[in-house]
Symmetry: C2
Subunit: 387 residues, 2 copies
């Protein structure tokens, strides 16, 4: 059920002293034999991207898509840390390379935590050797725990078909938005996949999963999804790889939404009948990212008027005569006015942890959905201070 | 200090039974003689605009920019109310016209309150005659109180120069975003202004004031700013009209930001050194509308890393080598790393009610500023339910 579910991968999670709590905060995922395998990644589009993002991108470019390990830490994002931060990220890779016997460029690095705090090298100098010593086929669960920040649960997933297994771990929590989130994920698959196909498979998996999440519309400095395709299994085609990676990524994304900072609701916002899929996506995002709508979900208030108002400013084709809004199976508004519905069934749906909002624009065949959360007191409390 | 500060305008505010509390909820602003004067307006761009917006727009088009009165109610937005809502808005105008002796098309109408709740005609049938009977030169303050929703203070402003006076009233609170807000404002000026010049002056005043506000990025169904230019004063040129209306609108906008729902901070986000003014505006908006950044302000936490992260996703030219971020007079980050600053002075600034954030991108001459607020428990409580 994790990055070590596929054959040929080992992992470890250790406490390296980055978190003041002493919790696990350094994870290592590697090929079992320390030899590089095919690797692809999707990184944040944030221009203020963190040192590990810059280093991992450079390493993948230098090796032409080969990697033997990924080292990850929580507790400090190593973002906005300047040249010193870059040096620490490079040193972390070199330490891993020395430990498992590969080239430094064959190691990728990810960090998550606070932005703008200098990242000391010491945790890697002590933590990496401990993690290398602890690498084992059953180490996926510890690695998944070591990358948690405000996550309350470790996030792991795996899927198998036709003798091929894919697995993965992720951390999420907040700053989740399209084009990824404050999220790190490492996926593994025990099959040979050609590099270009692997990159396309990963992008498809990300588009269908992490990019469907928006907790607060914020896009992080550190978002990274890496996939390692190990050679111990059979060669698989792109379609099979895409299906397996998508299944794993979707499972991780669902866990991330369910464990979003302070959330009491997981809300699926579905827009149908839009002029195009792009317009449906824009409308879904406008509704999903509305502070006012999010507050109403927290209050279990089916205030469809606010949703209609968001649709009206989403920059999409809207016909007030044909638009309808439903919560669960209760259509509450049609033609931009309230319509009769079962108030008891509606109240029961609003009280559930998972809400379904469906906005049918009635102007075309475009559709899209996103997962999001409510806006709660606890979200504010988690984000009002860094201490 | 209100819409009745200029010569030739009268106003009233009465309780019409729309608010369950029995508070003032119907306002009327009119020319003292009941004759139409030059009128211009700026309306919400929300496609799901409310019935009164549709009616007022049609009336101004029918009269070619003439109006004798504006009737406003709080407690119900008359939005998403279908043909019945349109009929009530038209009836409200007809009732005023009958009372003051003008044509129905010479009356404009505004509503604010909950969306999607049927608007009954009765409050207008009883309230409009009472308001007409109560019209007086000193009635501006009551009218300003009658349009409050979650506002905690009535919002009035006036400005004079060269024998000409402009005045205004507004309601704000939340859903404040560029392209206006859940806001209504009526401005008056006791001077002849040619219609096209008046429309330009109003747009300039709105751009410099209400469109600089963003509380939560939500744009309402009902936003309306109306100006009545009365003929009792001298003719003034466009520049003078613009200056006076801008002064009044800026005063009202400042009050709106200071009284935003649940806010503990008023934050001026200034972006300088952007490639263009448009890029500066986009960057300022990304920072100002970030839930994460807003939470940090609530916690008085000068977490500049999040601001840098928002700048990195604003879709603007960004050079990590030249960007700097300051709170008050303390530059906390330069070149995307933390720099030495006076921690005591910084903490003192963060504890103030008014915060100043300055992001200098260092890539060009573009600049922009916006006013916004923090995100608080009280904001959530005001918006989690409709009751």
């Amino acid at each position: 059920m994790s990055v070590t579910a596929p054959q040929g991968f080992v992992a470890a999670g250790v406490p390296a002293g980055i978190k003041a709590s002493g919790d696990l905060d350094l994870a290592l995922v590697a090929t079992a034999d320390g030899a590089p395998c095919t690797a692809a990644a999707v990184f944040t589009r944030n221009l203020a991207c963190a040192a590990p993002v810059q280093v991992s991108r450079a390493h993948l470019a230098a090796t032409g898509g080969r990697a033997a390990a990924v080292v990850l830490n929580s507790g400090n994002a190593n973002a906005a840390t300047g040249p010193a931060g870059l040096a620490v990220a490079e040193e972390a890779c070199a330490l891993v390379a020395g430990g498992i016997g590969c080239a430094p460029e064959e190691v990728l690095v990810c960090s998550t935590g606070l932005i703008g705090i200098p990242m000391p090298p010491e945790p890697f100098r002590t933590g990496v050797p401990a993690a290398v010593a602890g690498l084992r086929a059953g180490g996926g669960a510890e690695a998944a725990r070591a990358i948690m920040t405000t996550d309350t649960m470790a996030k792991e997933a795996a899927a198998s078909a036709g003798g091929v297994t894919a697995g993965g771990m992720a951390k999420g929590a907040a700053m989740l938005a399209p084009n990824m989130a404050t999220m790190l994920a490492v996926l593994t698959i025990d099959a040979e996949v050609e590099l270009a196909a692997l990159q396309r498979s990963l992008q498809a998996a990300v588009d269908a999963s992490f990019n469907r999440l928006t907790v607060d519309g914020c896009t992080s400095t550190n978002d990274t999804v890496i996939v390692l395709a190990g050679g111990s299994g059979p060669a698989v085609d792109e379609a099979r790889a895409t299906a397996l990676l998508t299944q794993v990524a979707t499972g991780l994304a669902s866990q991330m939404c369910g464990d979003a900072e302070g959330a009491t609701k997981v809300v699926r916002v579905q827009v149908t009948g839009a002029a195009t899929d792009d317009e449906a996506a824009a409308a879904a995002r406008k509704v999903a990212e509305s502070q006012l709508v999010k507050c109403s979900w927290y209050g279990q208030d089916p205030y469809w008027g606010r949703i209609l108002s968001e649709l009206g400013t989403a920059g999409v084709q809207l016909d007030l005569g044909t638009v309808s809004i439903a919560y669960g199976d209760q259509v509450v508004s049609r033609g931009a006015v309230e319509v009769d519905h079962d108030g008891g069934a509606l109240a029961a749906h609003m009280a559930e942890r998972s809400l379904q909002v469906t906005c049918d624009l009635g102007v075309g065949g475009g559709s899209w959905w996103l997962l999001t959360n409510d806006l709660t007191h606890a979200y504010i409390d988690e984000n009002r201070g860094t201490s």
